[in-house]
Symmetry: C2
Subunit: 420 residues, 2 copies
Amino acid sequence: MYKADLARMSEKIHTFATFGDAGHGGITRYSLSPEAQQARAYFQKRMESIGATIETDDFACMYATIPGSDPDAKRIVMASHCDSVKNGGNYDGILGVIGAMEVLEAVVADGIPHKHPLTAMIWTNEEGSLYPPALLGSGAICNPYLPEAIGKNFKEEDMLASKSVLDKTTTFAEALEASGYKGARENRINPDQYKAMFEIHIEQGPILEEAGLDVGVVSCVLGMFNVRVRFYGQAAHAGTFPMAYRQDALYAASKALIYLHDEIDKLDRPELVYTTGEVSIHPCVHTVIPDYVDFSLDVRHEDPELLAEVLKIVNSLADQEWAKCRCEIAPQWNRDTVYFDKTLVGYVKEAAEELGCKHQYINSGAGHDAQFAAYMLPTTMIFASSEKGLSHCEPEHTSDETCTEAVSVMLNAVLKCDAE
Amino acid sequence: MYKADLARMSEKIHTFATFGDAGHGGITRYSLSPEAQQARAYFQKRMESIGATIETDDFACMYATIPGSDPDAKRIVMASHCDSVKNGGNYDGILGVIGAMEVLEAVVADGIPHKHPLTAMIWTNEEGSLYPPALLGSGAICNPYLPEAIGKNFKEEDMLASKSVLDKTTTFAEALEASGYKGARENRINPDQYKAMFEIHIEQGPILEEAGLDVGVVSCVLGMFNVRVRFYGQAAHAGTFPMAYRQDALYAASKALIYLHDEIDKLDRPELVYTTGEVSIHPCVHTVIPDYVDFSLDVRHEDPELLAEVLKIVNSLADQEWAKCRCEIAPQWNRDTVYFDKTLVGYVKEAAEELGCKHQYINSGAGHDAQFAAYMLPTTMIFASSEKGLSHCEPEHTSDETCTEAVSVMLNAVLKCDAE
């Protein structure tokens, strides 16, 4: 078994953590920002120093490739992203880039024989924090391979027209031009030149840690649906309008939210996750009874039948009035569960076993570029355990040792794929 | 009995409705805005045309005064405000100004004998929509007479330093200078020169309409308290964090809000009103479990003991965890019930009876300039019924006839006060 190198891993983890360092343990590194440019330059410098060839495509995705012994073999790519959410952590995304770099560095340093060219790749704008939506780059590049219902939300022209959430003016296309990393469209990852894709990511949840494990062998990205639940009441003065006459949209929404929790929990499926993270309330004045409230509902599970059952509960909200307010359900989007390539998942599992690494099968509740790549070419993912399950926040942490172990698993899985 | 004139009332109501007309039935007329300047100019023009003398004070409050037969008598003032909330209606505030103007116009037109000078007054910035807080002008001018606990929130220097909520830069002091209506400090309403104050206002609630009545004889402004209820949870990814581990601050807040409704409703006091109008939620992203939610709670009733009982229920929220989240109560402000002058209330009641006007005693749940004036000189209010109880919104409406009837009540009550 080959192994990733702890010292090289630590150096990369701690160097990338300086690019966008927000001063209290985490980073803010929006895609194509000056901080992301620093990360890209460091990627390029290290990859060139081991003799890799650098290419970029028209979405500024970066590819560092070392040749294999077979000049006709397709590339095996390892990829993730280097952008972050606002005040994010030092592992989400970048660990997959670091892992890809480490595999190439280990192969070169240890002279590991391999047939296929090996590519370390950076997907552009996975988080979509500055230029929404999330998965913008992979959504556009994999678009011809995506189901219509998903692809329509990631049309190339729409992605290029996405505007900065900060200045509301600059388009993603303008940011691409200004980045200095925009390359040729023909350099895009594609199934003719690429055999398989691997992505390491932190788990972003507490399951592995709770089970005392370091690595997750990811079998799928969970299916989900997202709706907005809306309540229409009547605004009136907080001091003058008797309780008996009120149509309070917030009271209605609170009752419905509790009802949702109660009814969904009766299904007794602990692996089901559902979340209300966003609420808007109008007019949001402390002396006015709210006349409009809406909240988001994000529901995820592998089984489409269970999702349908939950959706039925959600839709039933609109069959009745809540605190004399009308309720309306507005579907936003949904996706089917994306299963990763069984052969690749098997290589990851074998590699973990052979390395004696503490692991289990796991689902991905979060979305990743790999879920879109999976429609285009054989793809899979490897999770490194997250301390306390925290992610998308500055305390996000995974030890250098655990990161290195996950990369060792990927290295050996890639070599199994290479040998096939 | 003397009467207000329907044609003159209609003319004023419909002319003022053009100043800040938002194009769909209501107005936006922030204090000291160009639209408010139009309203002030129209006030001045009409009042000068009947021979009234115009004065302004250093808070740009306007006073139009006609002399009485006794040169040594104090003035009787009728006052309200001409500013509105954003997309407000054509009655809140301005009806009190129109009513004051109409009393002076009726007295002059009909040659009604009176001893005391009569003043129609515009209080500056009652709504505080552009320069917070609400009651800014009366809070500053009546400040020396207010209880310390209230007055500390309306200190003159703080009011002058209040910044525009739109440009976050212009201070209220600068807006006053630019308005052209800033006058002398010695012109401020005061108990040495003023005998009594009357304010007509729309009810802003449905009580009079439901009872089939036109006019309310207001006996007090309800006491109230206002708190923020805060919940501290833990942010995590919506897709990766199992339900059993969550500390969802929004779920916590919803449970607590329902509990509050249940417990307060058990007190079975239908005249009690309590409202949650404002909610803030962090980070408010549909894929993130909220780690912080707070909501406002505004509770109003005449009886301080009942308010104390409700506050006890509210404070008990913090004794327990809600969905594994910590809860904290942050008191914001409170005020005691302000009782209006019994003699003036009696005059209003008599005038309503003598006019054969359908009326009842009523409390004011909303705050008004009159509640601060009441600490300085004998004060009272008269309500005109509100259609459907709607207010602070464009559909706010009271018929010209009902408005005129309320003004007839004020005219005769003022004459009773004059004769005393």
